[in-house]
Symmetry: C3
């Protein structure tokens, strides 16, 4: 499980913020060595009265894994997110700026985007030597269980401490409207120099995707028990109205699973203050 | 816990379907040897904000068990279901036909029928030698916590590999309307021949029960790691409109708690396709 | 975890009542010996779709504890409740009278009063020798995340088997109305004589608090495996309409975590019957 407590400046005033969570991790192995399992948090278990959560495929996930790769079903991330992840989380509460922007790379699919009860996302990943590939999809169809459908593929190549990769995502019949399709291609790179790691991406929207292009950079550096991290991202929209947002944070490891974490986050939208927080995080 | 993932044909198109669940099992023994305990799934824990689930008696159950038999309270099954159970589950998702019919024997009471927050069902079971008896009831009363009330009794006699039994159920003031009562009597038999088990029942409705009569047959056969199972049921209504439904399935045990399971389910209602599924099931 | 089952007379008729719950307890220690942890029940985990529960700080709590005292954040009790607690719980279901009154001392703040998602309560407690002090607050502010704000302080002094203490609580902008403030002061005493414990309190409301004054007495006595307990409380309102309520109960320890518990509860409001219950309680 995990927990956290501290204070958050939401752009207008300071507030207390705390939480406690428990994660269930399930695993097993078949007689011929195929691994299987699943994972979800207690607050994602779902409510059998409301038909939501991991018990209905809309949170958490299950997987089967072997020489053929890994197949995961549930609230899986999209293929490019599976290979590149997001930029570093800032602050003990994973801060968002006053405009609601944060460290997540704006992938088009996966990670809850089209995951509903009865409409889980399937993610396939496979690695061999320096090469990793991934594919993901949901099963939506106009007039069926869910109107939207998504597909994504991604590949990455690692040479020593450098990884480069690409991704391509498609979201069809967005909002259940026939013919409204979004696409997005991504290029991403990760480089590690000693205790410093740098991640950069460029994303280019297509079809009716309101995002024309987006790009960002994240850096994480360790100095003993202290980690300093930050990110900056910019999105340009086809309808205009570009926005840049960024975050800067630090954490100090107290040992035993506890750390002191703080950060600040902001964007260049008009009339918004930065947000900030300072608190302790626990891992159990 | 348990999990599953695979694909389901819902009568119109194929969809992904997955889930992950965790079950809590609690038990203890008093100084004089009486056993007690309870059980519920994480998704049945309830939400203390919404006042539902096992924390409010409407899901899961608790029990006390000793030489006097077993008393269970919560979302208990009815007396006849406690002794005879249901017909075999078909498919990795416990398939229902496109008309919503499935392998469950249409008992009148218990198993959630009148179980609400503050209105749990009590089930008493007792076995001695070849004889098993059961009684169940809820505490509803017109104008009280819950308007509906239920009662049921059942008995079974086992001789070698043959079990025969009867059940009688009563549901009073259905829908909170005074004097609208349903009754239902059941006869059931189970026979086991080597690796094959056969279950059959006949149910006869009474008073305002819309079901005039229902009957069904289920068969389960094991061939090494493979199990084949199926059921067929028919219900005849006092208002006409008989319906027959059935299911056929198979599972292959992979060991370690994993199995490949698939099935097909259908009914003779007009304009409906069969439903089918194929996937893997996990037990942890 | 814990469970219970039995029958309850709600003032009108007898009903079955049962429940089953699981509690998660998390703890750890940093390298320099500071303890941290958290606790919540499965039904308090929250629902990540509904943004409630321990995962959002509105139920359960987390803490950090060391030589400096203990800081708890989440659904914490108020400072005076942390030091004095409530009067004894009566009946296996923690009975309330037909008028909704129960054994809880009517503290003004904490314990869910102003705890909402995003607005946890912070409680600080510190003990040294015979002295204990506590302070609690929430972060509400008119027009912010939550309109109401609360503060409370308390102190206690223990001499041999006698403890005396005071508390002061303030709830500002009640119901989000500027200038509607409630205050309340409390005096409390606990005395232990062998197997008998007596607790008494007096509370005096101030500002717009509708309670003018309240006072109560609780007694718990052990006779071997049997415990007898009871309480009586009276509240006087500035607008008139005094009310007295009381409860009397007993429990018998069966060992292994099970006990038989029963009680009766009543108030002097017009036209209400007593409530009563009898059942078994389990601890796992």
């Amino acid at each position: 499980g995990d927990g956290r407590m501290g204070i958050v400046y939401n752009g207008a005033d300071w507030n207390f913020s705390s939480r406690a969570r428990v994660t269930f991790t399930l695993s097993g192995t078949t007689d011929n060595g195929i691994e299987f399992g699943g994972s979800f948090r207690a607050d994602q278990a779902g409510d059998s009265v409301l038909d939501n959560g991991a018990a209905y495929g809309s949170e958490g996930s299950v997987y089967v894994s072997g020489a053929f790769g890994k197949i995961e079903m549930g609230d899986a991330v999209s293929a490019p997110e599976a290979l590149f992840g997001d930029l570093p989380e800032v602050g003990y509460t994973d801060l968002t700026s006053a405009g609601g922007l944060e460290n997540d790379i704006p992938y088009l699919t996966g990670d809850g985007v089209t995951t509903l009860a009865g409409n889980p996302v399937v993610l396939y990943t496979y690695s061999t030597g320096p090469i990793s590939i991934a594919a993901s999809m949901s099963d939506g169809k106009l007039g069926s269980v869910n109107d939207q459908q998504e597909y994504a593929v991604a590949g990455a190549y690692t040479y020593e401490n450098y990884t480069v990769g690409f991704g391509y995502e498609m979201l069809e019949d967005v909002g259940g409207v026939a013919g409204v399709d979004y696409t997005q291609g991504e290029l991403a790179g990760v480089a590690t120099f000693g205790d410093t790691s740098v991640k950069a991406y460029f994303a280019k929207g297509g079809k009716q995707n309101p995002v024309d292009q987006a790009f960002g950079l994240g850096v994480t550096s360790k100095f003993g028990a202290t980690t300093v991290l930050g990110y900056v991202q910019k999105a340009e929209f086809t309808a205009g109205g570009d926005v840049t947002w960024y975050g800067l944070g630090a954490s100090y490891d107290l040992g035993g699973g506890a750390s002191i974490v703080g950060g600040i986050s902001d964007d260049d939208l008009a009339n918004t203050d930065p947000t900030a927080d300072l608190g302790v995080k626990f891992k159990f």
